[in-house]
Structures are given as C-alpha cells and as structure tokens.
Amino acid sequence: MIELRGIGKQFGGRALFAGLDLDLLPGKTTVIMGRSGSGKSTLLRMLNQLERHDAGTVRLGEIEIPAGLPHGEWVKRATALRRRTGMVFQGYHLFPHLCVLDNVTLAPRIVQGREREAAEARAMELLKLVGMQDAADRFPARLSGGESQRIAIARALATEPEVLLLDEPTSALDPGSTAEVVKVIGDLRDRGFTQAMVTHDPELGRRLADRVFEL
C-alpha cells in the first residue's frame, strides 16, 4: 500500500515536515489528526500527489515518485498513482454540469475506457451502496451536502481504487448529514477497504480509525 519515506515539505519558507514516514496498512482505516496548520491535509494530498513533496519518496506498488523528478516524468507517475487511488474532498467538488450518474461514470469511461452500460451498471451499484440510487438523474445543485458527499464517495470508488483518501469529509456537513456520511465510511472500513482520512474531530477520528496518525 502507499508508503511515504523521509518526506520533507517546505511551506512559506518553513519546513512543514521533515523526514516523515507513513505507511497505509492494507484493509485498515488510518486517521490523520493534528491541530490546524499542522499540515494534515497537505500530507493526505501528497498521498495522491495533489501536493508535491520536496524530499523523500512516495511509493505505491511499482510506482515510485522520488522528490525532484522532471515535470513531465512527475506528471506521468502522479497520474498513474492517482488512477489507483480515490479522493473525497471537504467541498465535494462534484461536476455541476453533469448529472449524478455522469459524475460517477466519467472517470471509468474516460480514464478506463469502460463501455457506457457497464460503467452505468457499476455506478448504480455504488449509488446503492451510499444510499443514493434514486438520485441518478439529478444535478449536483439540487443535492444537500450529505447527499453530495455520499455521491462524491461513489464517484471516488467508481474507478476501483486500492485506497480511498478522505479530506475532512464531514467538516462542511450538519449533524444529520454527517451521520449519513460517517455510516458509509464506517461500512467501507468494516468491509476491509483501505482508507486514509483527515479530520480535526477527535471523537470522529477515534470512532472510525483502525489506527491514528498524530501530526
């Protein structure tokens, strides 16, 4: 699973991390906690290279990304890495011009070249998994926060990633919606899906974590 080795990151002239090691254990949910400004989101975003690191190596299977790669080579490896991971953002970032079903099938069809029918059948299963099977034809602007985040999870799972990265998935949600989303994440943990989650809510972190990584 994803390994970080000796990771360093400069941020605004000071070292955010230096010599940091982290292993995501297969089938486990790792919760990254820390006070604000400690760089927990930056660390999570390094796992799929939305942030580049300045020192050390990120590895997933045979994909190895040492710091300081030339841009073209980095883009190639980072894209390969991202194709094996899924990510859920605090602000959902659903595609507003696509309906729910198209949000979920976009990457399987474009990135993995799946047929529309196959992609849609799989998308319906995922929507069912997150309890949103009736929302397939709706557009993101008509969804509540909890609904949006559950669809974002379905979208992230649609490419069959090996690991799911969750960046403060419930911070923008009201308590009712938080419960819906937490249930989905808890179900995934119980089925042995590898996850890494950032949260600033210690109680939620302890509830979902197999393992806590404190920054």
Binding site: T79, F89, P96, L106, A107, A141, A156
Partner: protein, 492 residues
C-alpha cells in the same frame, strides 16, 4: 503688361457681373465637397509631397472660381458615395469632384453647366486576351467605382458581372492581381492612374461624351447661376484650357464646352421631381438577398471565432510558455488594431502576394473570425479562470490527464459561463459584418446604401433595413436567453 491689365479688368468686370448670393458674400467662403481618397487627378495628396496638401485640376479650378467670384473656395472632405447627402445636410455648399449628373442625382440636386467633357476608357489585365470592348466582357468580372458614370455605362450592358469599389485605385489593383478581368473608368482617372499600373492595357478608343458639373442644393438656383457664369468666364478667358493642359486633360472634345447646347444641358431639366420611382418588389428582394448573405457570413465567421478563440484561450492558460506568448500577442494584435485595417490588409494586402489571394467572401469571413476570436479568447480565458480550483483537483484525483480534464470538466463549464457575453458578441458581430463591404462584398448594409443612393429614399429603406437586422438579431437574443434559463434550471 497690356494683356495682364486686360485680364485684371476682365476679372474685375466678372466679379462685378456675377451676383453671388449675399450669404456667401458675407461669409467670404464657399465650401466645396470632394473626396481626396484615390482622387487623382481631381483632388488628391501628392505622394511625393504630402505636406503640400491636396492638389489636382479641381483644386486649381476651385481657386480660379474663387477668384472670379471674389470669395475663398474652401475644400471639405467627404466620401464620394455620400457627396449628395453631405451637400443636402449643408456640410458643404457645392460638390466639385468629377461629379456626373446622373438621372438619379439630377432628381436630388441642381447641376451647374459642365466644366469638363470626359470619355470612358476600358482597361484589362496583363493576362486577358481577346477583349476589344465591353461586348467581349459578358460573364466576366468588371470592377468600377460605385455610383459613377462608368457604373451607369456597365449597367447598360447586361451579363457583365459588375463589382463595385470605393476607389479607382482598388478597382485597378483587382485587375492587376487577376480577380477582375477589366475596369472601366473616366478617361481623366485612367490617365492619372496609368503610371501606377504599368501592367494594365487600355483597349479600344475612349468613347462616349459625359460631363462633369458642380452640384448645388435644389433650393439654390442663384448659386447655380453664379457658378454657370463663372465657368463661362473661365472658359472664355482660356483659364479652363490652361488648367486642363497643365494636367494633360485637354482633348479636342473640350472645345464644345463653349457651345450653348452643352452649356445648357442641365439648365432645362431641373423642375422638382422628387425621389426617383422605386420598384419595391425588387428592392425588397435585393435587401432579402443581402440579409441572407449577412446571416451566412456572420454565422460562419462566429463559429470560426468561437473555435479559434477557445484554442487561443487554452494556449494562453495551459500551453507551453512560448505558445502562451504567441496567444497573448494574437489577442493584443487583433484587439488593438482596427478591424477595418485588418480587413483591408487581408484582402487587398494579401491579394498582392501570389498564392495568398482569396475571394472577398472568404477574406470577409476570415477577417471577422480572426478579429472576434481575440475577443472570444478573452471571454473564455476569464471563464476558464473562474472555474473553481476544486474542479481541476477532483478530475486530477480521478486520474484524468490535463487534456481530459479540460475537455470533459473545465471547458464545458467555462462555455456555459461564457454563453451570455458570447451571445452579446455574436449580435455585435452580426451588425459589424457590414464592414465586409469595404472589400466589395454586397451584404445587407451595402445593399441598402446602393438602393438608397440610387433612389434617394434613405429614410424608408433605412427603416426597412433596420427592421431586417432586428428581425434576425431578436430571435437570436431570445434563443440565447432561453438556453441560459434552461441551464439555470438544471444547475441552480
């Protein structure tokens, strides 16, 4: 010395004899309208000494008329095709500009006695064979100055494809570069421009006998009488011959200027007639055809502008550094220079480069597309930058490449944001498309100008033309609004 004194006396007598209307005496100025663009030998800028101002045989003539009438003749610049309207508006007091008393013009303004008799000269390009006269040009393109005597002559020869220009220089250029087979021009113009076009070949003898006369407003017979008398004095004392010989324009035909029959050619025919009759059926048909052409040009040009503009915007934001500069340069170049200049360069400029010459329609569409693409590029750049960063990150996290993320996520959203400003631009382009008339394309506005000039019905035809533009742009605006609303329903 004696002759000089005699001349002075004669001039003094003339001044005393010719009763110029009081308001001109009081002002001490008579303003004569003319167009110095492509105006050799009438009135033009000397290319070698532009600092000396306009020269030409009519500049000399105006000076002599001023002397005889005891006032200053001051030149007013106006487009040749609109001299009648400029005169009627009162921006000048008379037109002196190789102005032929065509029936249409005679219905609108009053003409003086002729001051010059001119003939027609046909010229062909270097590659044109077997043309001896107008009869050999059926089915061929012949360029001519719009609203001129040569234009009238061509209209009497059905089957010739007449192409109108706003100057004789461009009409000749189009013969040299092979777009047109021939050009017909007034002899003085043909002679004056010959040194500029050594490749042109004059065919046949000069023919016809037509007159240049000055035009004044209908309600000013006294000014006309004064000009008639002044021309008479200048002919009688040899001044006209002296001027015409200096400009190599004196032909034996000019001797007839003194004939009473010639002098009175236009004197009898000035009763009020009002605007010429107009065939509304064919006028509407012509305007309809012009409108179709306007729609065709606008739609194709805008489609190209959208594609090119999007490409430029994407290059500017996501291209490699050198291409970003190229894209920026493109936008600044095409936004920062007048579309009129771009259009003229594209058509006449490239027309001089072998292999790059294109038809007027193609050049017009391309010119509009290139210009509007710069504006569309800025709209799209703004819209692309306005798409939240999270959209890009979400698609990256899903493994989409930059190109895939642009194509499936960013650009579709940006195009929606651009819809309103882009529609606005389309309506603007739709109206701006009339600029293609400067490169001889006859679209709706040009058709209107031609019909209005031919009939004098500027207001009525103008209202009809405006109505046609509205009829075309309103549904467009309506469709765009509806499309926007339907997007809002989905996404808000």
């Amino acid at each position: 010395m004696l002759r000089f004194l005699a001349c002075l006396l004669l001039a003094a007598a003339a001044i005393a004899q010719i009763p110029l209307p009081q308001r001109y005496r009081d002002a001490g100025v008579v303003r004569w309208g003319s167009d110095a663009e492509g105006g050799a030998p009438f009135v033009y800028l000397d290319g070698q000494h532009p600092e000396r101002g306009e020269i030409g045989f009519e500049v000399d003539l105006a000076r002599e008329l001023g002397t005889v009438l005891g006032v200053e003749f001051r030149r007013v610049q106006a487009p040749y095709e609109h001299l009648v309207q400029v005169l009627e508006r009162g921006d000048c007091d008379l037109v002196l500009n190789g102005f032929e008393p065509t029936p249409v013009r005679r219905a609108l303004v009053r003409f003086s006695r002729p001051y010059y008799i001119f003939q027609q000269q046909l010229s062909v390009g270097p590659a044109v064979e077997g043309v001896r006269g107008l009869q050999d040009l059926v089915g061929k393109r012949v360029g001519v100055l719009g609203q001129s005597q040569s234009h009238q002559v061509l209209l009497e020869h059905p089957g010739i494809e007449v192409v109108l220009y706003e100057s004789n220089v461009t009409a000749y250029e189009e013969v040299v570069n092979g777009r047109n087979a021939a050009s017909l021009a007034d002899l003085p113009i043909a002679r004056a421009l010959r040194p500029l076009f050594p490749k042109l070949r004059d065919v046949g003898e000069p023919f016809g006998a037509f007159y240049y006369a000055m035009a004044v407003r209908r309600g000013e017979p006294e000014l006309q009488s004064a000009l008639d008398a002044a021309v008479g004095v200048l002919f009688a004392n040899g001044t006209l011959e002296r001027i015409y010989r200096r400009w190599d324009l004196w032909v034996p035909e000019e001797a007839k200027l003194g004939d009473a029959a010639v002098a009175e050619t236009f004197a009898r025919d000035i009763e009020e007639r009002g605007p010429a009759p107009i065939d509304w059926g064919s006028a509407m048909q012509l305007l309809g055809l012009g409108a179709l052409r306007t729609v065709g040009i606008s739609v194709i040009a805008f489609a190209l502008a959208v594609l090119l503009g999007l490409a430029v915007a994407l290059l500017r934001l996501h291209g490699p550094r050198p291409l970003q500069w190229v894209a920026l340069g493109y936008v600044e170049l095409f936004r920062g220079t007048p579309i009129l200049v771009q259009m003229l360069l594209l058509y006449y400029g490239l027309g001089q480069v072998p292999g790059l010459s294109m038809s007027a329609e193609v050049a017009g569409i391309l010119g509009l597309a290139l210009n509007y693409a710069a504006y569309e590029a800025e709209i799209y750049r703004g819209a692309l930058s306005a798409i939240p960063r999270g959209q890009r990150e979400a698609s990256q996290a899903l493994g989409l490449s930059t190109a895939q993320s642009l194509r499936h996520v960013i650009v579709p959203q940006a195009l929606r944001l651009s819809l309103a400003p882009s529609t606005n631009d389309f309506i603007a382009l739709f109206k701006d498309s009339s600029i293609v008339m400067v490169i001889t394309v006859v679209e709706l506005t040009k058709q209107y100008q031609m019909l209005a000039n031919a009939s004098g019905r500027f207001i009525l035809l103008g209202l009809v033309t405006s109505g046609l533009y509205l009829l075309m742009s309103l549904p467009l605006a309506y469709l765009a609004r509806r499309f926007e609303r339907s997007l809002d329903r989905d996404h808000a």
